[in-house]
Structure formats: structure tokens, C-alpha cells
């Protein structure tokens, strides 16, 4: 089996084929890399939402004329912080937050350590995504809720978030994919995962087959996340999919 593969790849002009096939045939190692590729960005996405979701909500409801206007200086401060963090390129941001990683996790190297810079980079991005989703909200519906005597908190939890759910899911899909991409980049400075394999082996040691394999797996991962996200969003949207009415007792 592997002889045939080696012959095939060598026929296509690849070099160092046998060691690459051996590496890729080690299923456990490959699976671990995939796992590392998934879990760090997944946790980072989670933490990014813990910070970014409330931040995004504040950015919408806190502005003048919003549901719960906040002092202008505070709003400009938040907006500036979000913009600043978003304008620093991820690779540089990652190096800059090394001290923070060391403070929180005791180390700045390794896959787990990449969670900190990923979160710091993703939280403001998530905040903007949430903001965009919530701005799609029909002003009239919010006005109706106010006319019914809803508090700001009730408007957020019972009107804005449920009504924007499909759009928020789309945003989360988008965030997860972007963070997955950042995670691969984190392979450059000590993180693990497919990104690291592609860089270290594929680029560094000229193992082109490993490089392509890593990229193909990343592409598949992105496709899977996108498909799940889109399907979930569409399924949950009662404007386009109203037939599936909830069961009631």
C-alpha cells in the first residue's frame, strides 16, 4: 500500500516521500494535531464570546438613542479599545500578550498558551460581529417592547438576542473560522496543531506532502464548521423556516 503511494508521489516529482508517508500514516500523531487545531481555537472562541458578547451588546444599547444610553466618554473609550485591538496584526499581538499568557497560564509556549492571545485578538472582533447582528434589529420591535414596559435588560435578553439569533449564529460561525485561521498562525510561535506542522515540516523541512495534507484538513474543517453554522442558523430562523413549530404539551 505505502509502496504504491511512495511510487505515485515520487512519480509526481515529490522528494523525501518515504519519511512523509511514514509521518502521515501515524494516525495518532495526526489526530492529536487535528485535536490541537480544534481545541485551542474552540476555547478561545468561547472566551472571546464571554467577553465580546456583552461588549457588543453595550456598543449597541449604550449609544445615544439606544435602549440604555451610557455616558459618551465611556462609549468612545470602548470603541477605541476595540478598534485598537483590531488594528494590531495578530502575529504582533500574539508576541505582545506573551507576558499576559505567562501571568495566566504560567507559560507563553505551547498550544494552551495560544488561547490567551487568540482570545485577546478575537474578543473585539466578536464584539463587532455581535454589534452588526444586533443593529439589524428592527427598531419598531424594540419600540413595541418599550411601549409594553420592558426594561433594558428584558429588551436585551427577551427581544434583541432571541430575535437576532440566526444572525448571531452566522456571526459565531464566522468568528470560529477566523479564530481557527489565527490558531494555525499561532503554530509559527510555539503553538501546536496543523498550522505548526504545515510551517515546521512542510515549509521548514521541505515536506510538501505534509504541507498539502495539513492544508487540505484545514479546508475540510472550515467547510464543516461553515456548513454546520449555516444549517443551524437557517433551521433556527422562524422567518424562513416557520414550519417547524415547537412541540407543546
Amino acid at each position: 500500500m505505502s509502496e504504491t503511494l511512495i511510487a505515485l508521489f515520487e512519480g509526481w516529482g515529490f522528494t523525501k516521500v518515504p519519511e512523509q508517508i511514514t509521518y502521515l500514516s501515524d494516525f495518532g500523531a495526526l489526530a492529536f494535531s487535528i485535536w490541537e487545531t480544534i481545541y485551542a481555537p474552540a476555547l478561545a472562541t468561547l472566551f472571546a464570546y464571554i467577553i465580546g458578547l456583552p461588549l457588543g451588546i453595550i456598543l449597541v444599547i449604550g449609544e445615544p438613542g439606544g435602549v440604555r444610553p451610557l455616558p459618551k466618554p465611556l462609549m468612545s473609550f470602548l470603541n477605541t479599545v476595540v478598534n485598537l485591538l483590531r488594528s494590531v496584526p495578530f502575529l504582533i499581538l500574539m508576541v505582545m500578550v506573551f507576558p499576559l499568557s505567562r501571568l495566566i497560564l504560567g507559560t507563553s509556549v505551547g498550544t494552551a498558551a495560544t488561547i490567551v492571545p487568540l482570545t485577546v485578538a478575537a474578543a473585539p472582533y466578536v464584539a463587532r460581529l455581535v454589534e452588526i447582528s444586533l443593529r439589524e434589529m428592527d427598531r419598531g420591535v424594540i419600540e413595541a417592547a418599550q411601549a409594553m414596559g420592558c426594561s433594558a435588560w428584558q429588551i436585551v435578553t427577551k427581544v434583541m438576542l432571541p430575535e437576532c439569533r440566526p444572525s448571531l449564529i452566522n456571526g459565531a460561525t464566522n468568528a470560529a473560522i477566523t479564530i481557527l485561521g489565527y490558531g494555525a498562525m499561532a503554530g509559527a510561535i510555539g503553538g501546536g496543531g496543523l498550522g505548526s506542522i504545515a510551517l515546521m515540516r512542510g515549509h521548514g523541512r521541505g515536506q510538501k506532502i505534509v504541507l498539502y495534507a495539513a492544508v487540505i484538513i484545514l479546508v475540510i474543517l472550515v467547510q464543516v464548521i461553515q456548513s454546520i453554522g449555516t444549517a443551524w442558523s437557517v433551521k433556527s430562523d422562524r422567518r424562513i423556516n416557520p414550519t417547524q413549530s415547537k412541540r407543546r404539551t
Binding site: 409594553m148 414596559g149 427577551k158 432571541p162 430575535e163 439569533r165 422562524r238 424562513i240 413549530s245 407543546r248
Partner: protein, 339 residues
Amino acid sequence: MSEPIIQIQHLSKLFGGGEDAVRALEDINLDIQQGEIFGIIGLSGAGKSTLVRCMNLLERPTEGRVLVDGQSLTDLSDKELREARRKITMIFQGFNLLMQRTCLKNVCFPMEISKVPAEQARKRAMELLELVGLGDKAQAYPAQLSGGQKQRVAIARALATNPKVLLCDEATSALDPTTTISILNLLKDLNQSLGVTVVVITHQMSVIEEICSRVAILDGGSVAEMGDVQEIFSNPTTDAARRLVYPGGVTPAQFPTGGHVIRISFNGGTAYDPLIASLAIDCGVKVNILGADTRNVGGKAIGTMLLGLPENRNDAAKALNYIRAQKNITVEEVPDYHE
């Protein structure tokens, strides 16, 4: 007469500040009686939506007071205001339903907000949906409903907290004429069966005619005229009122006339008296109808007619005297009538 349910006193509203401020409402004074259907009509930009939003303080008046059921809304704390708003509910032109909730859940929503136990809320919501004729749509989502049905759900939702006042902001403006009539009839029924005071904001005279007992005409941010619908229709005294009552104008120029022209106004005589025919039979005078805008409001004739009198002075005088002698009709000469 009992205490008015809504009292608006010297209400003014400015948008913006400084020199660019726009005065949307200017010294409005209104009393709306318990249990009536009160209309507020005006052209776009007259300030009617702002006025209705001042009645539940979605817009905070710049000056003046708004009293609902004797309670001054402007003096309430945020919490008290939210409490008070359950008694003054609102329906909208755009329905403003929660698109991700079923109809039943939409009607439950205001009760959820006011912490009514879920089971009780569900029961009441079902009753309300039955009341507006949508009992079978409880599990449907708003996207599956027609405009009229959506407005019915919105009405059911607005009634959930047993309001004393129902504000309708252009509630039928997005609906076709047949659906409009059915929604207006529903509002009329609810007004009679539940005793809820209804405030109707519209730019359509037909809506006012259909259900309102009293009307205020809003023009340029102030009340141009206010009173019984019939009175205002039959004898509009301000330009703003005339523009609304006769949207097309009453001076059609396409009919030639030799003699002089008079305008007669029907002020609510019975609609079934054939004035022009009896004029021809009783006096033997033929008049020329140059233009007319009359309608039947609750069995009474309202509106105006433009008549060209015969050139023969005797006949003209005879006709004029005959018409002047009629009850509920006022006559006015139109000296500057041009072809």
C-alpha cells in the same frame, strides 16, 4: 362627564437643540374621554406620531404634561413608567411582532414581562387569540400570517395586560381596504365589549369616519381643529381641516357655467333626502352640479356640493331661497369661480 382618561396639557416637543431645533409639537391641549374612540388625523409631518408617542412617553415632551388616568407620566420614575405603560398599550403600522416567536408566545410576551405565571398567561393568550379570530394560528409564526392577521395578533398582544387605552399608530395604513375595514370593526367591537379607550392616529379620513366619535386635526405641530367627527366633516373651518375633508379640492374647473356658483354644505341631514331632485320638482329650477364630495356618515349626509345656478336671475334666486330654507344645509356664494 367623568375625568378624561388622557389629558394633554400645553405639550410641546422639540427635536434637537439650539438653533437647529425642530418644533414637532406646539402647545397641544387634548382631553380624551374614557371609552371613546378618538381620532388624530394629519398629513405626513404634522406631528401625529410624535403626539401619540408622548402619550406613553416613548417620546418625552419638552414642555407640558401628560396625564393618563389622573397620573402624570412625566413625573414617574423609570420603573413606575414601565408599570404605567401596561395600561396604555400600542399597535403599529409595521405590526412589530417578534418574528422568532409563535403567535401564542407573542401574545404571552407582555404578560411574561409583567411576571404573570406562565400557565395563566398561556390561557389568557389563547382566549385573546380566539377573541381576535386567530385561535387556530396559535402555533404559527408571524412569517406565516397575512398583514391583517399579524395586526390581529398585535391587537391580542396589546390587550394582554388589560389596558385602559389602546393607541393605534397608523395601524391600518399598511393594509388593503377590505382588511382595513375588518381591523377597524374589530377595534370598534373591542371598544364596545371591553370598554377600552381607543386612540387612532391616521392620515386616512376614511378611518376616522369609520370608527371615531371625536377627532383632532393636527397641522404643523398644533391642533387646528377638534370636535365631533360629524361637525368637523360637515363644516371644516380651518384650511387644514378642509384639505383633509376634501383632499381633491372642491373647485373642479371642467364644467362650464354661465351663472353664478354656490357651495352648499350638508351638515348631517338625513342622507336619503334627494335635495337636487326636489329642487327641480318643487321650484322647476335646474341646477348644474359642478362638483361634489359628499358621503354618508352613520346615515347622515356630510360634505359639500358645488352648484351652478341658472343664468336667469329669477330662477337663481328661487333656487337659492329654496336651498337656504332647508335644514342642515349652509349656503355660501363662490364669487371667484373660474372655468
